[in-house]
């Protein structure tokens, strides 16, 4: 990059007559190269760390890529065998249903609570800013730390949740939150909701701030106050932000791995198995990288559908 700099500085006039003077012809070429050099490191990074993995996964998913591949370098082509193997695995449909339930449950919970909190904080009161900022903490913590905290809270025999519920007489016997196939999925959804609230609150709050007060003033003259004002003024004006929040939420939730590994490892009896976790296990526990890649490609496909919706929503927002 320093070569490019000397090139441009050397060929540039030291005292041109006006600010808008075009660059002299000889410096033009070096200037263009310098401009490109600003982008090259980032372009290479994105190609190496996103482009390459996506292509590599696609290729691997059609190969019998296992631990043996690392030893003898052979990864024979197997066509669609990996896809057939994972889709026909009885675990697949369970993981797919769990992924859907986990995503829908998390998004609905995060969004509703985040929205109510955003509306609450949209009102004026002392310490509003500080208290709202502190709500961000769970989102900034490493996910595995959040999982550890919830492991302690949800622990069956001595965890504070069961102990408290028993003391209050709400339950007779401790609930095996993380060890019963009936409730484990609900438990991890609750934890994921907790993690997602700050993100929803922050974005929805900033969306609310952008709605001009005049709209509410005009609305109140027409008798639109309270919930009526929410549905007639807030909701339509928040539309773009809402789509962004929900789409990003879906995309992030589909990728969740940390908290499931930290809380249940996909168990008990695969009650919390998801597509993403299955992909991890195929690749890094069973070392069937081809099958892991096939699963992760299915996950990308699902994300892509939502990404398209998301991009449309943001584009509309930009246009507005």
């Amino acid at each position: 990059m320093s070569d490019a700099e000397t090139l441009t500085t050397a060929t540039e006039p030291t005292a041109p007559s006006s600010e808008t003077a075009p660059a002299p012809r000889r410096g033009r070429r070096g200037e263009e190269i310098a401009k490109i050099l600003f982008v090259v490191p980032a372009a290479l990074t994105i190609i190496a760390l996103f482009g390459y993995p996506v292509v590599k996964n696609l290729v691997m998913s059609f190969q019998n890529y296992t631990l043996r591949t690392f030893i003898n370098g052979e990864a024979p082509w197997v066509g669609l065998q990996n896809y057939v193997a994972v889709v026909t695995d009885e675990l697949f449909s369970k993981a797919l249903v769990n992924t859907a339930l986990f995503t829908i449950g998390s998004i609905v919970g995060q969004f509703v609570i985040g929205m109510l909190l955003a509306l609450f904080f949209h009102k004026n009161f002392p310490l509003n800013g500080v208290l709202r900022a502190l709500f961000l903490l769970p989102w900034l913590l490493p996910l595995i730390v959040g999982s550890a905290a919830w492991r302690a809270i949800l622990e069956q025999d001595s965890g504070v949740l069961n102990v408290t519920l028993e003391k209050l007489g709400i339950i007779d016997a401790p609930i095996p939150w993380l060890t019963s196939p009936d409730v484990a999925l609900i438990a991890i959804i609750l934890v994921n909701i907790w993690l997602g609230i700050p993100f929803n609150l922050t974005l929805l709050y900033s969306g609310l701030q952008e709605i001009p007060d005049e709209l509410y003033e005009a609305g109140s003259l027409d008798g639109a106050t309270g919930w009526k004002a929410f549905w007639q003024i807030t909701w339509p004006n928040l539309h773009a932000v809402v789509s962004v929040v929900i789409m990003l939420g879906v995309i992030y939730t589909l990728k969740v791995l940390d908290i499931i590994l930290g809380l249940t490892q996909g168990g008990p009896a695969n009650a919390t198995q998801t597509i993403n976790l299955m992909s991890y296990q195929r690749s890094f526990v069973e070392f069937k990288f081809g099958q892991g890649a096939a699963l992760s490609n299915i996950l990308i496909l699902i994300s892509l559908v939502f990404a398209i919706v998301y991009l449309r929503a943001t584009r509309r927002q930009v246009d507005e």
């Binding site: 990059m1 490019a4 441009t8 500085t9 540039e12 200037e31 401009k35 982008v39 490191p41 980032a42 372009a43 990074t45 994105i46 760390l49 996103f50 390459y52 993995p53 590599k56 690392f70 609450f120 009102k123 009161f125 310490l127 509003n128 208290l131 900022a133 502190l134 709500f135 961000l136 903490l137 769970p138 900034l140 913590l141 490493p142 595995i144 730390v145 999982s147 550890a148 905290a149 919830w150 302690a152 504070v160 609230i197 974005l203 900033s206 962004v244 791995l257 940390d258 590994l261 993403n276 992909s279 991890y280 690749s283 990288f289 992760s296 996950l299 990308i300 892509l304 991009l311 943001t314």
Partner: protein
């Protein structure tokens, strides 16, 4: 009849009440963090204490945590700092270029960056594992720094570009007229003006890398390099025999987030909203 004073007083009470409600909601929200702190200060074995305050606070959990995981905390710190440096070096010039130079393919570049944020980490881990195996970056700190930069670079470009769009072209041009090259104008004018956005990106890059678990889990195989997230996972995986040490490690791993939230609140807020909407 309600006087002006009474109405004012009523409003004051309502505002005070709202603050009270907000504090209760916040307490509920942060309860897991408090519980972590609470248990970390109570010596315990495999059974969790249920007292809401440590009856006689003890730091023995922290002693064990630092003994077991001190090295891992340092490993995480090195990886996080490395990621910050790499991210800023790579993303800042690109953000400036995308904000100020008139490239014809900018829309496509931005689209690629947006899409790249949606690629699941497991896809990257899958491919990088095989790549790293071949080029010897498996079980290495540089390997983890590069993998973590994967997530921080696109995010950084988006945040800094949004900010750099607002840098007036006239001051850069003025410097160019005085003979400064593109690189020098960037370093001596654009970077100082954009300081806040660089700090925001740096802080988030740090948090991304510090919190990383998936690359720590998949791109290390020999146990010689263990970021603290992986250390906590190992603690959690086995039968938990010392809850206070586990919670003490979790508290230690929370320190960066807590510090940043207290001293760098405005940057955090900027990153939280900027990354998604802009």
């Amino acid at each position: 009849m309600v006087t002006h004073q009474q109405r004012l007083a009523a409003r004051q009470t309502r505002r005070g009440l709202r603050t009270g409600i907000a504090i209760v909601l916040l307490a509920l929200m942060l309860f897991p963090v408090y519980w972590m702190l609470n248990i970390s200060l109570q010596p315990s074995g495999g059974t969790l204490p249920s007292s809401f305050f440590p009856p006689s606070p003890s730091l023995s959990g922290y002693t064990t945590a630092i003994h077991d995981q001190g090295q891992n905390l340092i490993t995480s710190l090195i990886i996080a700092i490395g990621t910050v440096v790499l991210t800023l070096l790579v993303a800042a010039p690109c953000a400036y270029a995308l904000a100020q130079f008139r490239f014809r393919w900018i829309t496509w570049a931005l689209l690629a960056i947006l899409i790249s944020q949606m690629i699941p980490g497991i896809v990257i881990a899958n491919a990088l594992y095989t790549l790293y195996e071949n080029i010897g970056l498996l079980n290495s700190i540089p390997g983890l720094i590069i993998a973590n930069a994967a997530h921080a670079v696109p995010f950084g470009i988006l945040i800094m570009r949004a900010f750099m769009l607002g840098v007036p072209t006239s001051i850069v041009e003025a410097a160019r007229v005085d003979g400064a090259g593109l690189v020098r104008a960037f370093l001596s004018i654009v970077v100082p003006i954009s300081r806040n956005s660089l700090i925001t990106v740096g802080l988030f890059a740090f948090l991304f890398a510090w919190s990383d678990f998936i690359y720590a889990l998949t791109l290390t195989t020999e146990g010689n390099i263990t970021p603290v997230t992986l250390g906590i996972y190992t603690y959690l995986g086995a039968h938990i025999s010392n809850w206070s040490a586990v919670m003490a490690t979790a508290m230690l791993a929370s320190i960066p987030a807590i510090i940043l939230l207290v001293i760098a609140q405005k940057y955090i807020a900027a990153g939280a909203t900027g990354g998604a909407v802009k």
